[in-house]
């Protein structure tokens, strides 16, 4: 029987639970012995001209060096990942030269014998700031009332319509035929990935080879970005090693300026160097996500047939154009959500502001699409007095029609949205909940009930038409397997899932599978772990490679057994090859490996995108006197296609749901009008705790994708995509009898209280 589909306990856990994992700052490598510590001096102003004097710091005992932009004779610029933006915005200085553009930007760097000395020296670096006008709010930035880059002349980094990547916004005749038209504004506040392990990096040189260790999600991508910066010195190679990683959630996909400079610093000092940031630095300088403002208009008939939808996206890139400036692409292609809407028009712009540059955060562009369409559908339903479940049933893309193309040209592979709704409604006891809501309303109770529904669809293994991930399977002389993967774990359990996939094909025990991940020397190619891609891309490659190895092994077995290769079968139960019908005469993997110089195979095949979906139902209680909102229940039906290990998949769902709820209820990266961060530590950032969450009620559903051999879709981001609109809809639903139709996130008690007062007055 196949191991796939079983709740196999994780191979990672015994080590993690007894000694702790080995994160970058835990490394005890001989190559890092005697390392100097790196401390960055960061801007405390959002926009200013600067003059730096580091002489006092440089003279302090224990300080091995202080460097400013003027001292850099190596890399000076770290370019954004997508080269579609004006160069001044794209080319981020590694250390600010004469201008800083956000609080937290690196100005100078210190090398010291201890971290404490580094912190003291950072205090001693004197920076003269000459303030420049600041723009923090993206809608204000879009007016160009303050222009950050004079040489560009506008804050608009890109208009996706002008690039032909959106359909373009026309005029109101677009909605001409509609009986009902509803418009709204949905703000997607900036949120922090906040992996519990902050960023951490180390670097050294072995002759003319650079070696970096870092807490990162995509080491081959990092190598691709940094190696060219060291083309002169690193003639002997450039190796990135990623040990265990304490979470990423998108924020650890790219290299940052802080990482990019380490090989230079190591070369300068002639010693290894290490950097471990504080949480405050993490919240100031690691890329946050979301940060969109959407305006939508939705139109249709009085009986609830939605026919028209317009979405205008404004995205906050922060001070430089990093990945965040590009992510509206994903919002646009997923703008139709789960609905059959024949007429859609879209537009999107990204603007620069004096804030931390944005990057991907769990969902990256798709949560924004889902939140807006799910709010829009609820507002439309509210306008015509239709139940939110009924309007969804009426407008879903139908299961029988898959694969389907939406009006914006995105082709969804497979799905049954209505089924996910019915399963979730059943599990929630929907009609009982509505009865209880009515009872409380009729009695005028202080604590009211809100029920929110959201059905989402997202794109994974993207961007379209599909991605690839490297996998290699090699049989060792002992007859065991070594699996090489370009995708790597930062909590996703690759040691377990990938071993299961290989073991299933090879007829081995998972303990016989060694996984090699997170090392650009040992794994020749790779992309990384993000966008819910690992199992469907990396797993599929390992599955294919293992299948090819089995075919090669059969040929060897045929020679050894003097049989026809077509008659050779692999006995999955004990991993031996024999002629069909005579299992007692067989060859083990070790015997076969002895006959081959190299029994291995690799795969890096492009695999088409998949479109996971599901329905989330949130039940909230709202204290109408204080505005306090409590999430009572969270019921989710998430369909990620075929499931390799249900325990691990449920864990991914749980984590995503919590982050989605956090976006709705507690978390926001905020600034004052001068661009001073108001949420730069865990005491001020509303990071969600276990006291603010219920246990989650998960409903299983599996619709395999035809697009890869495993049938798997992505699951890492689903929770974060469905939960936010479900909770937002629940809060508005709970206040709808007061006349409230929309509320900004995160839903603070003040916002709820104000919304009620506004309707009362």
């Amino acid at each position: 029987m196949s191991i796939l589909g079983n709740r196999v306990l994780r191979r990672e856990d015994v080590g993690f639970l007894t000694e702790g994992a080995c994160y970058t700052d835990d490394l005890n490598e001989p190559a890092l012995e005697g390392a100097l510590f790196v401390t960055y001096v960061r801007s405390i102003m959002a926009h200013a001209k600067i003059v730096v004097d580091a002489s006092e710091a440089a003279a302090m005992p224990g300080v091995a060096g202080v460097f400013t932009a003027a001292d850099l004779d190596g890399p000076t610029i770290l370019q954004g990942q997508v080269p579609m933006f004006p160069e001044p915005m794209l080319n981020r200085p590694i250390l600010a030269t004469d201008t800083v553009r956000f609080v937290g930007e690196c100005i100078a760097v210190i090398l010291s014998e201890t971290p404490e000395t580094g912190a003291d020296a950072a205090e001693a670096v004197s920076v003269d700031y000459e303030p420049l006008p600041v723009v923090v709010d993206m809608e204000e930035a879009a007016t160009d009332s303050v222009v950050i880059y004079d040489e560009v002349g506008t804050n608009i980094a890109v208009d996706f319509s002008a690039l032909g990547m959106a359909t373009g916004i026309t005029d109101d005749s677009f909605f001409g035929d509609c009986e009902v038209v509803v418009s709204g504004r949905v703000a997607h506040q900036r949120t922090a990935p906040a992996p519990l392990e902050p960023r951490s990096t180390a670097a050294t040189w072995e002759g003319d080879k650079a070696i970096m260790w870092m807490s990162n999600q995509a080491p081959h991508g990092v190598k691709g970005a940094l190696e060219p910066l060291y083309a002169e010195q690193a003639k002997g190679g450039f190796q990135i090693i990623v040990p265990d990683v304490g979470g990423g959630f998108g924020g650890k996909i790219p290299p940052y300026p802080e990482d990019a400079l380490l090989p230079w610093l190591s070369a300068k000092a002639g010693k290894p160097v290490r950097w471990f940031e504080t949480r405050t630095e993490n919240l100031l300088a690691m890329g946050p996500g979301r940060a969109h403002v959407h305006r939508f208009t939705i139109g249709g008939s009085k009986d609830g047939n939605i026919t028209h939808y317009r979405l205008e996206v404004l995205a906050d890139s922060g001070a430089y154009t990093r990945l965040g400036a590009f992510l509206p692409m994903f919002t646009l292609i997923m703008s139709s959500g789960v609905y059959d809407i024949p007429h859609i028009e879209t537009g999107a712009r990204s603007v620069v502001t004096n804030t931390t540059p944005t990057e991907a955060y769990r969902g990256a562009g798709r949560p924004e699409a889902a939140l807006t369409i799910e709010r829009a559908v609820d507002m439309f339903a509210g306008e015509i007095g239709m139940d939110p479940a009924d309007i969804r049933r009426k407008n879903y893309l139908k299961a029988a029609d898959f694969p389907v193309s939406t009006a914006v040209g995105t082709e969804y592979d497979s799905g049954d949205y209505e089924k996910s709704l019915e399963l979730a409604l059943d599990a929630a006891g929907y009609s009982d909940l509505r009865d209880e809501q009515t009872r409380r309303r009729d009695n005028g109770e202080v604590v009211q009930l809100g029920i929110g529904i959201a059905t989402y669809v997202e794109i994974t293994a993207g961007p379209a038409p599909g991605g690839a991930e490297y996998g290699k399977v090699e049989i060792t002389p002992q007859g065991k397997a070594r699996v090489y993967s370009g995708s790597l774990s930062h909590g996703q359990s690759h040691q377990t899932t990938f071993a299961m996939i290989a073991a299933d094909q090879l007829g081995m025990d998972i303990e016989d599978i060694e996984l090699v991940q997170g090392d650009t020397d040992q794994v020749s190619e790779g992309v990384g772990t993000f966008g819910s891609r690992s199992t469907q891309l990396g797993g599929s490659s390992i599955h294919r490679a293992a299948g090819q190895v089995v075919e090669s092994a059969k040929q060897i077995a045929a020679d050894l057994l003097e049989a026809n290769v077509d008659d050779i079968v692999l006995d999955q139960a004990n991993g031996t090859f024999h002629v069909s019908g005579t299992p007692s005469v067989n060859k083990t993997w070790a015997e076969i490996a002895e006959e081959a110089d190299d029994l291995s195979s690799e795969s890096n095949e492009q695999t088409k995108c998949s479109y996971p979906f599901g329905t989330h139902i949130a039940v909230v209680e709202i204290d109408t006197e204080t505005g306090g909102v409590t999430l009572d229940r969270m019921i989710t039906c998430d369909d990620a296609g075929t499931i390799i290990n249900p325990m691990i998949v449920e864990g991914q769902r749980h984590g995503g749901i919590a982050q989605g709820v956090a976006q709705a209820l507690t978390e926001e990266v905020s600034y004052d009008a001068d661009g001073n961060p108001q949420s730069a530590n865990f005491a001020d950032y509303g990071i969600i705790s276990m006291a603010e969450l219920p246990s989650f009620e998960l409903v299983p559903m599996e619709t395999p994708t035809p697009n890869n051999p495993l049938g798997c879709k992505g699951i890492g981001e689903s929770g974060a995509i469905g939960a936010t609109p479900a909770v937002a809809n629940a809060v508005v639903d709970g206040l709808s009898h007061f006349g409230v139709t929309n509320i900004d996130l995160p839903v603070s008690s003040l916002r709820v209280w104000e919304a009620i007062q506004e309707q009362k007055n």
């Binding site: 306990l9 994780r10 990672e12 856990d13 015994v14 993690f16 639970l17 007894t18 000694e19 702790g20 994992a21 080995c22 994160y23 700052d25 835990d26 005890n28 404490e116 906040a194 992996p195 519990l196 392990e197 902050p198 265990d244 990683v245 304490g246 979470g247 959630f249 504080t278 949480r279 405050t280 930062h490 909590g491 996703q492 359990s493 325990m647 691990i648 449920e650 864990g651 769902r653 749980h654 984590g655 995503g656 749901i657 919590a658 982050q659 530590n681 865990f682 005491a683 001020d684 990071i687 705790s689 276990m690 006291a691 969450l693 246990s695 989650f696 929770g719």
Partner: protein, 149 residues
């Protein structure tokens, strides 16, 4: 001080935090640092049998005391019941919060042997996890307490 039953002594700066002492002087890297505002609990250890956030204690304050970290819990190959429950319930993903979470959870059960779900959630509120959504952590603590039906 003794850490996991072994005497560890070293001269350190007065400002050295206990968490740094454990990681650097005792070379025990299981205890993690996740914040600079004593908010996350990743650094939770036992000081004389009670859980504390070791980033809020000076090493000097622990002079002569008994410290237990995640490395001191298992008995040879045999996991502590809380470690076992975490493993069985998939209560860890990246593992960064885990050592602190396990230490805090053991302490919670010392104080409240049979907690309700709400008591677990309120009792461990000061330990953050970014990966698990807390669902399986709560399940593991309840399982370890034997109060899971």
């Amino acid at each position: 001080m003794t850490i996991n039953g072994t005497e560890v002594s070293s001269d350190v700066e007065p400002r050295t935090l206990l968490v740094h002492f454990i990681r650097e002087q005792a070379s025990l890297k299981g205890t993690n640092i996740g914040c600079d505002s004593s908010s996350c609990g990743a650094c939770t250890i036992h000081l004389n049998g009670e859980s504390v956030k070791s980033c809020t204690v000076l090493a000097a304050q622990a002079d002569g005391q008994e410290v237990t970290t995640i490395e001191g819990l298992a008995d040879g190959e045999t996991l502590h019941p809380m470690q076992e429950a975490f493993r069985e319930c998939h209560a860890l993903q990246c593992g960064y919060c885990t050592p602190g979470m396990v230490m805090a959870a053991i302490s919670l059960l010392d104080e409240v042997p049979n907690p309700t779900e709400l008591e677990v959630r309120e009792g461990l509120e000061g330990n953050l996890c970014r990966c698990t959504g807390y669902h399986n952590i709560v399940k593991a603590v309840l399982q370890a307490s034997g109060s899971q039906s």
